[in-house]
Amino acid sequence: MTSEHNARVPAPAGRATSAPVMGRDSEATIFEYSSPGRRAWSFRSTGLPEWDASELVAPGLLRGAPVELVEVPERDLVAHVTRLTHRQYSVDLGAYPLGSCTMKYNPKLCDDAASLPGLANVHPATPASHCQGWLELLWSLSNALCEVTGMKAATLAPPAGAAGELTGLLLMRAWHDSQGETRTKVIIPDSAHGTNPASVTLGGYETVTVPSDDRGLVDMTALRNRLDGDVAGIMLTNPNTLGLFEEDIAEIAAAAHDVGALLYYDGANLNAILGVTRPGDMGFDIVHMNLHKTFAVPHGGGGPGAGPVAVSARLEDFLPGPLAQRGDDGTFAWVNPARSIGRVHSWYGNALALARAWSYILANGGDGLRRVAEGAVLNSNWLKSRLRGTYDIPFDRPAMHEFVASTSTLKKQTGLRALDVAKRMLEEGFHAPTVYFPLIVEEALMIEPTETESVETLEALAEALIRIAGEVAGEAAHAPRSTPVGRVDEALAARRLQATWDAVCQPS
C-alpha cells in the first residue's frame, strides 16, 4: 500500500520554511522526509545470541517485509518536530481564554514531579511492598480530593472527565441496583457539556433535558415536573456552563433525594469554588473532577487528563478498584471495595498526571487553592465588566470563573459572528474563546480567563475583543491572516476524507 512513497524524492528536512521564524510554507510530513537506508535508532548491546526472525516465529505468522514506517535520521526528525512546535499555540505562549477548559498556566515544578525516574519508571505490577511511594501518593491525593469536594472516598482511575462521568453513572446504577430499583432516566440541563448526555447513554440511561430559566439557572418548576421514581439521578455542574452559580442547589438536592435520585457533580468547573464551597456540602452524591482543568495537569494538546470520582459515604463500597489504603502500621496496600463496580482502567489511571496534581496541591495548600478560586472569579468578572456594553451578556448575573457573551446584536448590526471573533482573536495573538457553546446561547463566546492571567493581559484581551466588535462589516471574514495557515476548509476535510498519508497518496 505504501511502497511507492519512499520511491519519491524526499523533501529537504533541513529546510525550515515552515518555521514561522522564517516563513509560512507548509511543513512536509515525516513521510516525505523518508529515504531508504537512513535511520535514527540504536539499541543497547546485549551479548545475546542473534537468532533470525525465522528461528523465532512460525512462517505463517511472520510478516514478509517490515512494516513500512519511515527512514529518517535523528537530525531530520528533530527538525521536523521542532518546526511542528513552532506551528502550535499553547498556554506557554499566551492567553488561552477557552471557556469550560480552564487553560491556566501550569507551574513548571509539576513537570519536574512527573518526570522523576522513581515515579515514571515503575512497572504497574510491582508488588505493593516495593512501590509504597506511589501508593502513598495516590492515597494522599485521594484524601485531598475528598476534602476539596466534601466527599467520603474516591477513585483516581478514570483517565479523563468523560470517563469519570461514565464511572459515576455506573456507580449510580450500582446504587439503585443495590436498592433493588431499576431506574431509566438521568436529568441534565440544556446547557450541559456534550460528554454528559453521551455518558448517560453509555451508562444505559435515557437523557431527560431540563431547560434553563431566564436567570440561566436550572428551571426549578421544569425540574420538579421531570423528577419521578424513574429518575436515577441529575447531572449538574456548578457553576454551570454559563459560569453561573446554581443558587437553588440545596433545593435541587432535596428534590432529587426526595424521589430517591442521586445528584451528580460534573467537576469541570471546580476551579471556581475551591475552598469556597464543596459539592458534598451542596448535597451531591457523586463528583468527578477534571484534574487537567483544576489541578494543573497540562492539557497536552488534548490529553492525557485525569478524571477522579469522589462519592458520599453510601456509595463508597461501589467504587472501582483497586484503591490505595493505609494500614494501621502505616504501610499502604491495594484494596477492592466490597461491592465494587469493577475496574475502569487497565491499571490505576493516568498515574503521572495524578503525581502532577499532587505536586500542585502541595504547592498551593488549602489557602492557595482558595486563592485560585478567588483569582479565577475575580478575573472573569473583571473581564466581563469590560465587555459589557460591547457584547451581549445574555445572563448578566455575578459570574464565577467564566462567563458567556454573545455577538447576537452585533450579528444583526454588522454580521459579526462568534466564529469571526474567534478567528480574529487568533490574529491578535490570543487563543480564541470557546464558541457556540453552551448551545442555549446564540453566537456564544464562552470566556474563561483563568486565575493565572494578569490584569494587563485581561485588559489586552478586552481591548482586542472591543476592537473586533467595532470593525467594519466583513472585515473579520478574512481572519486569521497571520497564522501558519489561513482559515481551514473543514468541509473539504470531511468530504474528501484523508485521515492518513496513505490516503493522501491514493487516487481518490
Partner: protein, 448 residues
C-alpha cells in the same frame, strides 16, 4: 500559600474597586451562606517549590525501579528504552500546554503530529483508518465493542479468555452500562478455544495476538468464528510484536486495538498510556474519539483539522458514537516521534531483539530444576512458566534480590487471571545477557 495567581494585593484591590466590591469574599455572594466552607480547606499550607520537590522525591525514593529492580515484568506494560529525542521533543511546551486543537489555524503542530500518528497506527494495524488515540488498551477495546454493537445496543460479545484480565474486567464494568452480554471464551493450553464458545449470536469476537500469555493466537480461527455469526473481529495487537507479525488487518480484523505504551512512554505506574484504535474505512462514521484529516486553507496550503466531528459528543450529544473528549494526545505525539525514531528497520529490529531475549531467558529458566512450561504454544516477547514455588512468592523474594521477576498469572475456568501460580516473564531490548544470567541464577536460588 501558592503564588500562581499573579496579582499583588494592590492589583486585587484595584480590580475589586473596578467591580464595586469590597472584598474577595463578595465575589461569592451568590453562594448561599449555608454552603460556604467557613473553616477553609483542611489541607496543609502551601509549600515552596523546593519543599514540594523534596516531598515528591521522598515519595519517588519509596518506590524501587530501574537498576534497583531490573524489570522482567510485562503483561501490558513494557520496559522499553525511551531515547532522548523522543523524551525531549515530546515534552516541548507547545505540545504539553496546548488544548485540543479546536482552532486549527493555530494548532497545526498538534494536528499534523496526530495525522502522522494516525498513519503509523493504520500501517501497524493494516487497516485504513486510525483515530487520534483513546485512553488505553482496555478503553480502546471497550470502544471497539461499542462500535461493533448493533446500533440499538445490548449485543453479545465473545471475548477471548486470554485477553488481558484487567481489560476483560474493564469490558465487564462498562457492559453494565451498555447492556452488552460479555461471554468469555475459555482457553486451552494458552490459546482461545473458539470451539468452547457457547451458543449465541455475537456482534463481535475479540482476540489478542500475542495474547496475555504471550502466545501467538490462531487469528484465522477467530475470524472463522466471527464469520459464522456475521460478527466483527476485533484484534488486540502489540505494536512492538507488530515488527515481526502479520498485521491484524491481514489476518482479517475489522477493528484493531492495542496498548501504545511501548511506543515511547515510560511504564509510569500504569498511566498515562495510549489506546491504539484502527478500523476498516467503511466503519469510519462510527469511529470513537477524534480523527484528524488533511485539507487545505484558503490559500490552498496543506492544513490539518479534526474531522467528521458529527460523530462526537459535543455535536451529537446523547447519540454520539462515544463519550470521549479529552484523549491521550501527548502520548500519541510521543508515539509518533518514537515510531519515526525507530523507523522501518528499527521496529523490526526492536521486535527481533525482544523475541531473542525472551527465547534466551525462557530456555535458561526451563533449564532450572522444577521449572516447566505453563503453556506449550509458541510465544514471542513474553511467556509463562510453572515454578516449584508459588509465583507470587517468587515475585516478592526476587524483588528483595533486585529483580521484578514477572507477573504472577494463572487460569481459572479456562480464563487468564492475574495472581496465579505461574510466572509471566517479559524481556525487552533493554535486558542484557548478563542481567538475564543473573536473573536466572537468582530465580534458581529463590525456587530451591
Amino acid at each position: 500559600m501558592g503564588h500562581f495567581v499573579p496579582h499583588s494585593d494592590a492589583d486585587i484591590e484595584r480590580m475589586l474597586a473596578d467591580l464595586g466590591l469590597a472584598s474577595l469574599d463578595e465575589l461569592f455572594a451568590v453562594v448561599p451562606d449555608a454552603l460556604r466552607l467557613a473553616r477553609g480547606l483542611a489541607l496543609e499550607p502551601g509549600r515552596s517549590e523546593p519543599d514540594v520537590a523534596f516531598e515528591m522525591e521522598r515519595l519517588a525514593a519509596a518506590n524501587r525501579c530501574g537498576p534497583e529492580l531490573v524489570c522482567f515484568a510485562g503483561a501490558g506494560a513494557y520496559d522499553h528504552e525511551v531515547p532522548a529525542a523522543t523524551r525531549r521533543l515530546g515534552s516541548r511546551s507547545e505540545f504539553v500546554t496546548a488544548y485540543t486543537p479546536y482552532q486549527p489555524e493555530v494548532s497545526q503542530g498538534v494536528l499534523q503530529a496526530l495525522f502522522e500518528y494516525q498513519t503509523f497506527v493504520s500501517r501497524l494495524a493494516g487497516l485504513e483508518i486510525a483515530n487520534a488515540s483513546l485512553y488505553d488498551g482496555a478503553s480502546a477495546t471497550v470502544e471497539a465493542l461499542n462500535m461493533a454493537a448493533s446500533p440499538k445496543g445490548h449485543s453479545t460479545m465473545w471475548v477471548s479468555g486470554a485477553l488481558h484480565p484487567n481489560w476483560r474486567a474493564v469490558i465487564k464494568t462498562f457492559a453494565a452500562g451498555s447492556g452488552h452480554e460479555i461471554v468469555e471464551i475459555p482457553t486451552r493450553d494458552g490459546r482461545t478455544d473458539w470451539d468452547a464458545a457457547p451458543p449465541g449470536e455475537p456482534a463481535a469476537v475479540v482476540v489478542a495476538n500475542p495474547n496475555f500469555f504471550g502466545v501467538l493466537e490462531d487469528v484465522s480461527a477467530a475470524r472463522t468464528a466471527a464469520d459464522l455469526h456475521g460478527a466483527a473481529l476485533v484484534v488486540a495487537f502489540d505494536p512492538v510484536s507488530a515488527g515481526l507479525l502479520r498485521t491484524p488487518g491481514e489476518m482479517g480484523a475489522d477493528i484493531a486495538v492495542g496498548e501504545g505504551q511501548p511506543l515511547g512512554t515510560p511504564m509510569s505506574f500504569g498511566g498515562p498510556y495510549l489506546g491504539l484504535f484502527a478500523c476498516r474505512r467503511d466503519l469510519v462514521r462510527r469511529l470513537p474519539g477524534r480523527l484528524v484529516g488533511r485539507t487545505r486553507d484558503v490559500a490552498g496550503r496543506n492544513a490539518y483539522v479534526t474531522t467528521l466531528r458529527a460523530r462526537e459528543q459535543d455535536i451529537r450529544r446523547e447519540k454520539a458514537s462515544s463519550n470521549v473528549c479529552t484523549n491521550q494526545t501527548l502520548i500519541a505525539v510521543a508515539a509518533m516521534i518514537q515510531l519515526s525514531w525507530l523507523g522501518t528497520s528499527g521496529l523490526a529490529e526492536l521486535a527481533l531483539r525482544c523475541a531473542r531475549g525472551a527465547r534466551y531467558t525462557r530456555e535458561a529458566l526451563l533449564g532450572l530444576p522444577g521449572v516447566e512450561e505453563f503453556v506449550t504454544a509458541a510465544t514471542l516477547r513474553e511467556f509463562a512458566l510453572k515454578l516449584p514455588v508459588d509465583a507470587t512468592t517468587v515475585v516478592e523474594r526476587m524483588a528483595e534480590e533486585g529483580f521484578l521477576a514477572g507477573v504472577a498469572v494463572g487460569v481459572e475456568s479456562g480464563l487468564a487471571t492475574i495472581d496465579g501460580e505461574a510466572l509471566l516473564v517479559s524481556v525487552t531490548e533493554r535486558r542484557t545477557k548478563e542481567q538475564i544470567d543473573r536473573y536466572v541464577e537468582c530465580v534458581g536460588k529463590v525456587i530451591r
